[in-house]
Amino acid sequence: MSRDVRGSAARLGLMVLPVAFFGLFFAWPVASIVERGLRPDGAWDLGAIGATLGRPEILDVLGFTVWQAAASTGLTLLVALPGAYVFARFDFPGKNVLRAVVTVPFVLPTVLVGTAFLALLGRGGFTDQLWGLRLDSTVWAILLAHVFFNYAVVVRTVGGLWAQLDPRQEEAARVLGASRWTAWRTVTLPALVPAVSAAALMVFLFTFTSFGVVQILGGDAYTTLEAEIYRQTARLLDLRTAAVLTLTQFAAVGAILAVHARTARRRETALRLVPPELTARRPRGAGQWALLGGVLASAAVLILLPLGVLVERSFATPEGYGLRYYRALGSLDEAGTFLVPPLEAIGNSLRYAVAATAVAVVVGGLAAAALTRRAGRLTRGFDALLMLPLGVSAVTVGFGFLITLDEPPLDLRASWILVPLAQALVGVPFVVRTMLPVLRAVDERLREAAAVLGASPWRAWREVDLPLVRRALLIAAGFAFAVSLGEFGATVFIARPDSPTLPVAVARLLGRPGELNHGQAMALSTILMVVCAVCLLLLERLRSDRTTGEF
């Protein structure tokens, strides 16, 4: 079976770079910091695990973490699946703009979203002023903020595939006597299940490791594992408890991923994909218009309203609406919050995000290509490994970077590349998750047809796979870019004081007292939001501009 041997060799070759990347920039830093916590003086202190996990307050944190993640995931699917359908199958004016708009929350710094929801739902906030309704320090504020964040994950992951499902499959079922609902349930739903479970998994992981939102909206009553790790590491300097919690989070995430891998393996099938332009049409009938209206209304309330409040506050100075906060961003303040004017953070953020996207697309693309042909245990383990960064505390990763990548041959502390590397780590799982379902759905015989016509394996990939997955690749790159722009937990540890990113700068401003700092934070966040929206809009453009034929 020399062919199979060659195939395995090629697969291993593709895996080398991703594995090295993850070993060096993920496994090593995390392992080091865990070691530091559990082997403080040269002897392993494994008893700490049991002792820490036995503490009732830690158990409470664990229980709440799981509960809120499950509730957030359920709520997000409930709200976003109709949205995915609408974006996939309906044509309506402003669709591209709206698609970019709903993606914006995803890239906003968590700290900022917390603040936006506080402004919306908290004391003196929008709903408080209108109806006297306050939801801060309740679980609802956390859940709503999570839906706000993750709406785009579901719309993009599920909608991206949904838009390419051949509607004729459903029509075939209808002709065979299935009702509209039965046809959807028996034909479309099974085809969507891998994408839905991939999206649900992502949402669960994000909310499971939620940090900024919980920190601000949860008050003292609600704490997740990640927030607790940050508290133990940065405030209490209790590395031992932090290490135990990191391991706990790691184990929990590992278990979730294992379950997902098993179910995903059973469900994935080769799908018939068609260009999305062929499947979308204008809504017909009262039901479809109502659905479209409902989705637009829910998106408006959930997404536009918090963003609107945010923008409004960036202009609302005590002297009335004006640009004062924005002007202040261009200069250094006397208090010494920054070494450079906050405005420079825009350039830093863009530079870092471009580099991080490039790294994430290369590493994630290679990994996805290696995983395309499902194979043995090794490949499956590799698959799971790629998802772990999503579940491991960003705080731990960032801190780990500082203590491991600081000596030759890898002294990266002084290098700007450190930040993009940490950001890419979180981007890779997106690239892999987005590309894999589409890559696997490409019919193997199309590649064979190309080979018979004289295309080498590389050429066949470029000619057959790439055009079919270009869309997915762009979506993946967009995601990676967005995550890099918004990454906060790790960046806050490793960004140098003279080159902060936008989220770091916002957080620093929010941490300072006074309405000028608060207003500047709002203004800088508004700029971050606009930057993201413009980038995503460009991406949408790029996507619809692609030419069809080769000639």
Binding site: M1, S2, R3, D4, L273, V274, P275, L278, D443, R445, L446, E448, A449, A450, A451, V452, L453, G454, A455, S456, P457, R459, A460, E463, V464, P467, L468, T548, G549, E550, F551
Partner: protein, 345 residues
Amino acid sequence: MLTLEGATVRFGDRTVLEAVDLAVADHEIVCLLGPSGSGKSTLLRAVAGLRELDAGRVLLDGADQAGVPTHRRGVGLMFQDHQLFPQKDVAGNVAFGPRMHGVPKAERAARVEELLGLVGLPGAGGRSVAALSGGEQQRVALARALAPRPRLLMLDEPLGQLDRGLRERLVVELRELFGRLGTTVLAVTHDQGEAFALADRVVVLRDGRIAQSGTPVEVWRRPASEFVARFLGFENVVPAEVSGTGAATAWGRVPVPEGSPQGKRTLLVRPAGVRVVPAGGGLACRVVSRTFRGHHVSVLLRPADGPPLEAEFPLGEVPGEGAEVAVAFRAEDVVVLGAEPQSRS
């Protein structure tokens, strides 16, 4: 051109191709014929290099192809379900092969036009493949397979998904086209009519082995075994004891051609070899059913003794249903079949 020596392919512990020897000469059109699961498609895939042999060799123009990747073998393969590239238009599909072989753009365009003309779709280059009908897709797939001028063109169920009328017309067109281009062709089909119409030589496969190889006429006239006979649609197959120019069967004594092999054999009586004789002069049968076939009528007879008997009568001489007739057999239409090759299982 193509030589297979002891080609063997296994899927797990199932042997799909077993020690197949096959040679295809230059400009020859060979059709592999067999029921589904007989290993036909696997054989094509092995020649194309899409499937490695577990034993044996594939030689093209005398050169062993072991280790030669698919894209360097210079063979063409037309897939059963076309596998046209959905993201390319018709011209993009047809030009794909020449492009892979580094043909300059202008020459490529000319070749695309020429081939589209050849398959009867002139000027269709700009059309999207999704908008093509089944027959048109077939033609584009054929043009695409021919475009890089493969030394050997392989067709997997080339006309499988088309309706009957189109199929019959296309078979004739294909044969004429291949003859004009001098293409060497190895095709696979489960339809004997298609194979006989297309091929210079037919190779019948059974369970991964060659059951018979010969010109369409040879195979049709002298099926090598009961399997081949039944696969070709012949039902009148009975065990027999051959001695001299006659054989003892369940239908009584049946004449056999001179020089037939002797002893315990299996006998095929072609339906056309069954004729009505005056009552008492032959095997007494009752007419069970009649099926109109166009040029003749196919009649199912139930003899007093032995298995049912299929007969063919000219239009004017058909006995009515339920009629009692006596039949005799014509020696030219009786074939003494070879021994069945040892069946694996």
